[in-house]
Protein backbone atom coordinates (compact mmCIF):
# COMPACT_ATOMS: atom_id res chain seq x y z
CA UNK A 1 0.00 0.00 0.00
CA UNK A 2 1.10 3.57 -0.69
CA UNK A 3 1.98 5.54 2.43
CA UNK A 4 1.73 9.31 2.57
CA UNK A 5 2.01 12.02 5.16
CA UNK A 6 0.24 15.38 5.47
CA UNK A 7 2.34 18.26 4.19
CA UNK A 8 3.31 20.99 6.67
CA UNK A 9 0.59 23.61 6.99
CA UNK A 10 2.91 26.42 5.89
CA UNK A 11 3.35 24.82 2.53
CA UNK A 12 -0.36 24.22 2.08
CA UNK A 13 -1.20 27.76 3.13
CA UNK A 14 1.32 29.16 0.68
CA UNK A 15 -0.10 27.09 -2.19
CA UNK A 16 -3.64 28.23 -1.46
CA UNK A 17 -2.86 31.85 -0.60
CA UNK A 18 -4.29 33.39 -3.79
CA UNK A 19 -7.59 31.48 -3.69
CA UNK A 20 -10.86 32.11 -1.91
CA UNK A 21 -12.81 29.03 -3.00
CA UNK A 22 -11.08 25.74 -2.60
CA UNK A 23 -11.95 22.06 -2.69
CA UNK A 24 -10.22 19.67 -0.28
CA UNK A 25 -10.32 16.32 -2.05
CA UNK A 26 -9.71 13.06 -0.20
CA UNK A 27 -9.07 9.61 -1.53
CA UNK A 28 -10.70 6.52 -0.05
CA UNK A 29 -7.96 4.00 -0.67
CA UNK A 30 -4.31 3.92 0.48
CA UNK A 31 -4.19 7.37 2.05
CA UNK A 32 -7.32 6.66 4.07
CA UNK A 33 -5.77 3.50 5.45
CA UNK A 34 -2.57 5.35 6.43
CA UNK A 35 -4.49 8.20 8.09
CA UNK A 36 -3.26 10.84 5.66
CA UNK A 37 -6.04 11.67 3.23
CA UNK A 38 -9.36 10.03 4.07
CA UNK A 39 -12.63 11.73 4.92
CA UNK A 40 -11.49 12.43 8.44
CA UNK A 41 -8.27 14.14 7.35
CA UNK A 42 -10.19 16.13 4.74
CA UNK A 43 -12.43 17.55 7.47
CA UNK A 44 -9.48 18.36 9.71
CA UNK A 45 -7.53 20.14 6.99
CA UNK A 46 -10.61 22.06 5.86
CA UNK A 47 -11.29 23.19 9.40
CA UNK A 48 -7.67 24.13 10.00
CA UNK A 49 -7.59 26.15 6.78
CA UNK A 50 -10.77 28.01 7.67
CA UNK A 51 -9.32 28.85 11.08
CA UNK A 52 -6.01 29.99 9.60
CA UNK A 53 -7.62 32.20 7.02
CA UNK A 54 -10.15 33.69 9.38
CA UNK A 55 -7.31 34.65 11.73
CA UNK A 56 -5.77 36.49 8.79
CA UNK A 57 -9.13 38.13 8.00
CA UNK A 58 -8.94 36.55 4.58
CA UNK A 59 -11.98 34.26 4.65
CA UNK A 60 -11.95 31.20 2.46
CA UNK A 61 -14.82 29.01 1.44
CA UNK A 62 -14.04 25.36 1.39
CA UNK A 63 -15.79 22.36 -0.10
CA UNK A 64 -14.99 18.86 1.02
CA UNK A 65 -15.23 15.74 -1.09
CA UNK A 66 -13.73 12.30 -1.24
CA UNK A 67 -13.71 9.69 -3.97
CA UNK A 68 -12.93 6.02 -3.71
CA UNK A 69 -9.75 6.19 -5.82
CA UNK A 70 -8.39 9.48 -7.05
CA UNK A 71 -6.15 7.69 -9.53
CA UNK A 72 -9.20 6.66 -11.57
CA UNK A 73 -10.66 9.16 -14.04
CA UNK A 74 -14.16 7.73 -13.75
CA UNK A 75 -14.17 8.08 -9.98
CA UNK A 76 -12.73 11.57 -10.05
CA UNK A 77 -15.45 12.51 -12.55
CA UNK A 78 -18.01 12.05 -9.74
CA UNK A 79 -16.86 15.28 -8.09
CA UNK A 80 -16.68 17.30 -11.29
CA UNK A 81 -19.47 19.63 -10.19
CA UNK A 82 -17.68 20.56 -7.02
CA UNK A 83 -14.40 21.16 -8.82
CA UNK A 84 -16.16 23.45 -11.27
CA UNK A 85 -17.31 25.67 -8.42
CA UNK A 86 -13.85 26.28 -6.92
CA UNK A 87 -10.73 28.13 -7.96
CA UNK A 88 -8.28 25.47 -6.83
CA UNK A 89 -8.13 21.94 -5.46
CA UNK A 90 -5.95 20.61 -2.68
CA UNK A 91 -5.75 16.86 -3.03
CA UNK A 92 -4.91 14.54 -0.16
CA UNK A 93 -4.31 11.63 -2.52
CA UNK A 94 -0.92 10.21 -3.45
CA UNK A 95 1.00 11.69 -6.36
CA UNK A 96 -0.93 9.49 -8.78
CA UNK A 97 -4.22 10.89 -7.54
CA UNK A 98 -3.03 14.50 -7.68
CA UNK A 99 -1.91 14.01 -11.27
CA UNK A 100 -5.13 12.32 -12.31
CA UNK A 101 -7.07 15.26 -10.91
CA UNK A 102 -4.75 17.74 -12.64
CA UNK A 103 -5.20 15.94 -15.93
CA UNK A 104 -8.99 15.81 -15.59
CA UNK A 105 -9.31 19.49 -14.71
CA UNK A 106 -6.58 21.11 -16.74
CA UNK A 107 -7.83 24.63 -16.15
CA UNK A 108 -7.71 24.26 -12.33
CA UNK A 109 -4.60 24.21 -10.24
CA UNK A 110 -4.53 20.96 -8.25
CA UNK A 111 -2.11 21.02 -5.30
CA UNK A 112 -0.67 18.12 -3.33
CA UNK A 113 -1.73 18.18 0.32
CA UNK A 114 0.35 15.16 1.26
CA UNK A 115 3.86 13.95 0.58
CA UNK A 116 3.76 10.48 -0.93
CA UNK A 117 6.52 8.66 0.86
CA UNK A 118 6.73 4.93 0.17
CA UNK A 119 5.11 1.56 -0.34
CA UNK A 120 4.76 -0.02 3.06
CA UNK A 121 2.73 -1.82 5.67
CA UNK A 122 1.56 -1.05 9.20
CA UNK A 123 3.98 -2.30 11.81
CA UNK A 124 1.42 -1.52 14.46
CA UNK A 125 -1.51 0.83 14.79
CA UNK A 126 -0.43 4.24 13.47
CA UNK A 127 3.09 3.23 12.43
CA UNK A 128 3.92 2.40 8.83
CA UNK A 129 7.21 1.11 7.53
CA UNK A 130 8.67 0.94 4.03
CA UNK A 131 8.69 -2.50 2.49
CA UNK A 132 9.02 -2.23 -1.27
CA UNK A 133 10.93 0.05 -3.62
CA UNK A 134 9.00 -0.89 -6.76
CA UNK A 135 12.32 -1.60 -8.50
CA UNK A 136 10.73 -3.78 -11.14
CA UNK A 137 13.14 -6.66 -10.55
CA UNK A 138 12.08 -8.42 -7.37
CA UNK A 139 14.92 -9.83 -5.33
CA UNK A 140 12.92 -11.26 -2.43
CA UNK A 141 13.42 -14.91 -3.42
CA UNK A 142 17.09 -14.58 -2.53
CA UNK A 143 16.73 -12.73 0.75
CA UNK A 144 14.21 -14.71 2.76
CA UNK A 145 11.43 -12.30 1.85
CA UNK A 146 13.13 -9.19 3.25
CA UNK A 147 13.87 -6.45 0.73
CA UNK A 148 17.43 -5.10 1.03
CA UNK A 149 16.75 -2.51 -1.68
CA UNK A 150 14.61 -0.38 0.66
CA UNK A 151 15.07 -1.89 4.08
CA UNK A 152 18.86 -1.52 3.94
CA UNK A 153 19.69 2.18 4.14
CA UNK A 154 22.14 1.72 1.28
CA UNK A 155 20.23 -0.83 -0.80
CA UNK A 156 23.13 -3.29 -0.71
CA UNK A 157 22.75 -6.65 -2.42
CA UNK A 158 25.70 -8.61 -1.04
CA UNK A 159 25.43 -8.38 2.73
CA UNK A 160 25.64 -5.75 5.46
CA UNK A 161 27.88 -2.71 5.33
CA UNK A 162 30.55 -2.32 7.99
CA UNK A 163 28.51 0.20 9.92
CA UNK A 164 26.05 -2.12 11.63
CA UNK A 165 25.46 -1.04 15.21
CA UNK A 166 25.47 -3.24 18.26
CA UNK A 167 22.64 -5.72 18.29
CA UNK A 168 22.21 -5.58 14.50
CA UNK A 169 20.84 -2.08 14.19
CA UNK A 170 21.25 0.23 11.22
CA UNK A 171 24.15 2.65 10.91
CA UNK A 172 21.84 5.60 10.43
CA UNK A 173 19.22 4.86 13.06
CA UNK A 174 19.50 2.74 16.20
CA UNK A 175 15.72 2.25 16.09
CA UNK A 176 15.88 0.47 12.76
CA UNK A 177 17.05 -3.07 12.21
CA UNK A 178 19.89 -3.81 9.82
CA UNK A 179 18.06 -5.48 6.93
CA UNK A 180 20.98 -7.82 6.32
CA UNK A 181 20.98 -9.00 9.91
CA UNK A 182 17.26 -9.72 9.51
CA UNK A 183 17.94 -11.53 6.26
CA UNK A 184 20.72 -13.53 7.91
CA UNK A 185 18.45 -14.59 10.76
CA UNK A 186 15.57 -15.47 8.46
CA UNK A 187 17.72 -17.53 6.06
CA UNK A 188 19.42 -19.24 8.97
CA UNK A 189 16.03 -20.21 10.36
CA UNK A 190 15.09 -21.64 6.98
CA UNK A 191 18.44 -23.43 6.58
CA UNK A 192 19.11 -21.44 3.41
CA UNK A 193 22.17 -19.40 4.41
CA UNK A 194 23.86 -20.44 1.16
CA UNK A 195 21.66 -17.88 -0.54
CA UNK A 196 23.49 -15.19 1.41
CA UNK A 197 26.87 -16.58 0.35
CA UNK A 198 26.01 -16.26 -3.36
CA UNK A 199 27.45 -13.31 -5.21
CA UNK A 200 24.85 -11.05 -6.76
CA UNK A 201 25.97 -8.98 -9.73
CA UNK A 202 25.04 -5.30 -9.94
CA UNK A 203 21.33 -4.80 -10.28
CA UNK A 204 19.58 -3.91 -13.47
CA UNK A 205 18.19 -0.51 -12.56
CA UNK A 206 16.45 -0.29 -15.91
CA UNK A 207 14.18 -3.23 -15.27
CA UNK A 208 11.44 -0.63 -15.35
CA UNK A 209 12.07 1.89 -18.07
CA UNK A 210 11.04 5.22 -16.58
CA UNK A 211 8.43 6.41 -16.92
CA UNK A 212 7.00 2.99 -16.15
CA UNK A 213 4.35 1.56 -18.40
CA UNK A 214 2.84 -1.91 -18.31
CA UNK A 215 0.65 -3.32 -21.01
CA UNK A 216 -1.34 -6.28 -19.78
CA UNK A 217 -1.31 -9.25 -22.08
CA UNK A 218 -4.57 -9.36 -24.02
CA UNK A 219 -6.74 -12.23 -22.97
Amino acid sequence: MIIAERKPMDEIKRMLAPYKKVLVAGCGTCVTVCWAGGEKEVAILASQLRLARSAEHNEISIFEASVERQCEREMVAEIKDKVTEVEAVISLACGAGVQTMSEMFEDKPVFPGVNTTFIGMPEKEGLWVEMCGACGDCFLDRTGGICPIVRCAKGLLNGPCGGTRKGGKCEIDPDKDCAWVLIYRRLEKQGRLDLMRNYYAPKNYRAVKRPGRIQAAKA
Partner: protein
Protein backbone atom coordinates in the same frame (compact mmCIF):
# COMPACT_ATOMS: atom_id res chain seq x y z
CA UNK B 1 -19.77 33.87 18.75
CA UNK B 2 -18.76 33.83 21.55
CA UNK B 3 -15.59 33.37 23.56
CA UNK B 4 -17.08 30.36 25.29
CA UNK B 5 -15.07 27.52 26.73
CA UNK B 6 -16.22 24.22 25.30
CA UNK B 7 -15.62 21.30 27.64
CA UNK B 8 -16.03 17.76 26.39
CA UNK B 9 -16.67 15.81 29.58
CA UNK B 10 -16.49 12.07 30.01
CA UNK B 11 -19.65 10.76 31.64
CA UNK B 12 -17.58 8.57 33.97
CA UNK B 13 -15.41 11.28 35.46
CA UNK B 14 -15.52 14.94 34.50
CA UNK B 15 -19.28 15.12 34.03
CA UNK B 16 -20.09 13.80 37.52
CA UNK B 17 -17.26 15.95 38.89
CA UNK B 18 -18.99 18.97 37.39
CA UNK B 19 -22.25 17.82 38.95
CA UNK B 20 -20.57 17.65 42.31
CA UNK B 21 -19.20 21.15 41.81
CA UNK B 22 -22.82 22.16 41.30
CA UNK B 23 -24.01 20.41 44.42
CA UNK B 24 -21.27 22.15 46.41
CA UNK B 25 -22.14 25.42 44.65
CA UNK B 26 -18.55 26.00 43.66
CA UNK B 27 -18.49 28.85 41.22
CA UNK B 28 -16.77 29.02 37.87
CA UNK B 29 -17.04 31.29 34.82
CA UNK B 30 -20.41 31.35 33.11
CA UNK B 31 -18.96 30.96 29.63
CA UNK B 32 -18.33 27.24 30.18
CA UNK B 33 -20.37 24.93 27.94
CA UNK B 34 -20.24 21.24 28.77
CA UNK B 35 -20.82 18.57 26.15
CA UNK B 36 -21.28 15.13 27.60
CA UNK B 37 -19.45 12.26 25.91
CA UNK B 38 -19.39 8.55 26.79
CA UNK B 39 -15.58 8.57 27.00
CA UNK B 40 -12.87 11.12 26.34
CA UNK B 41 -11.85 8.72 23.59
CA UNK B 42 -14.92 9.71 21.60
CA UNK B 43 -13.68 13.30 21.21
CA UNK B 44 -12.23 13.78 17.78
CA UNK B 45 -10.03 16.51 16.34
CA UNK B 46 -12.84 17.79 14.17
CA UNK B 47 -15.02 18.39 17.25
CA UNK B 48 -12.29 20.53 18.75
CA UNK B 49 -11.45 22.39 15.55
CA UNK B 50 -15.12 23.11 14.82
CA UNK B 51 -15.50 24.59 18.27
CA UNK B 52 -12.67 26.98 17.48
CA UNK B 53 -14.21 27.70 14.08
CA UNK B 54 -17.37 28.72 15.90
CA UNK B 55 -15.29 31.14 17.95
CA UNK B 56 -14.66 29.20 21.14
CA UNK B 57 -11.97 30.79 23.26
CA UNK B 58 -10.69 27.44 24.43
CA UNK B 59 -11.54 23.76 24.35
CA UNK B 60 -11.14 21.38 27.25
CA UNK B 61 -11.20 17.63 26.92
CA UNK B 62 -11.78 16.04 30.28
CA UNK B 63 -11.46 12.35 31.01
CA UNK B 64 -10.62 9.87 33.71
CA UNK B 65 -7.36 9.75 35.63
CA UNK B 66 -4.36 7.88 34.21
CA UNK B 67 -5.03 4.18 34.58
CA UNK B 68 -8.68 4.59 35.45
CA UNK B 69 -10.30 5.02 32.04
CA UNK B 70 -13.55 3.12 31.86
CA UNK B 71 -12.51 2.00 28.40
CA UNK B 72 -8.86 1.33 29.19
CA UNK B 73 -7.17 3.48 26.57
CA UNK B 74 -9.72 6.21 25.79
CA UNK B 75 -8.09 8.89 27.92
CA UNK B 76 -4.51 8.14 26.91
CA UNK B 77 -5.37 8.08 23.21
CA UNK B 78 -7.19 11.35 23.51
CA UNK B 79 -4.31 12.88 25.40
CA UNK B 80 -2.17 12.13 22.32
CA UNK B 81 -4.91 13.49 20.08
CA UNK B 82 -5.09 16.71 22.06
CA UNK B 83 -1.32 17.00 21.84
CA UNK B 84 -1.62 16.68 18.07
CA UNK B 85 -4.32 19.31 18.15
CA UNK B 86 -1.89 21.67 19.94
CA UNK B 87 0.36 21.18 16.95
CA UNK B 88 -2.45 21.76 14.43
CA UNK B 89 -3.19 25.05 16.20
CA UNK B 90 0.42 26.12 16.37
CA UNK B 91 0.72 25.37 12.66
CA UNK B 92 -1.80 28.10 12.02
CA UNK B 93 -0.20 30.43 14.53
CA UNK B 94 -2.91 30.01 17.13
CA UNK B 95 -2.14 29.45 20.81
CA UNK B 96 -1.86 25.69 21.17
CA UNK B 97 -2.36 25.94 24.93
CA UNK B 98 -5.99 26.81 24.39
CA UNK B 99 -6.87 23.19 23.85
CA UNK B 100 -5.98 20.99 26.77
CA UNK B 101 -6.68 17.59 28.20
CA UNK B 102 -7.48 17.28 31.89
CA UNK B 103 -7.70 14.06 33.86
CA UNK B 104 -9.77 13.85 36.99
CA UNK B 105 -11.88 11.46 38.96
CA UNK B 106 -15.65 11.75 39.39
CA UNK B 107 -15.26 12.84 43.01
CA UNK B 108 -12.95 15.76 42.20
CA UNK B 109 -15.16 18.85 41.89
CA UNK B 110 -12.39 21.18 43.04
CA UNK B 111 -10.06 19.79 40.43
CA UNK B 112 -12.80 20.40 37.87
CA UNK B 113 -13.15 24.03 38.89
CA UNK B 114 -9.35 24.32 39.02
CA UNK B 115 -9.13 23.12 35.44
CA UNK B 116 -11.72 25.67 34.30
CA UNK B 117 -9.82 28.40 36.11
CA UNK B 118 -6.56 27.25 34.57
CA UNK B 119 -7.95 27.45 31.06
CA UNK B 120 -9.52 30.82 31.84
CA UNK B 121 -6.08 32.01 32.92
CA UNK B 122 -4.59 30.77 29.66
CA UNK B 123 -7.27 32.58 27.67
CA UNK B 124 -6.39 35.82 29.44
CA UNK B 125 -2.68 35.25 28.87
CA UNK B 126 -3.23 34.65 25.20
CA UNK B 127 -4.91 38.03 25.00
CA UNK B 128 -8.45 37.14 24.07
Amino acid sequence: MNNCIVAFCCEHSAYPAADLAGKLKLHYPENLRIIRVPCAGRVDLIHILKAFEKGAAAVMVMGCEGGACHHMTGNTRTKERVKYCNLLLREIEADGRLVAMFNLSPNAPHKFVGAVNEITKRIKESGR
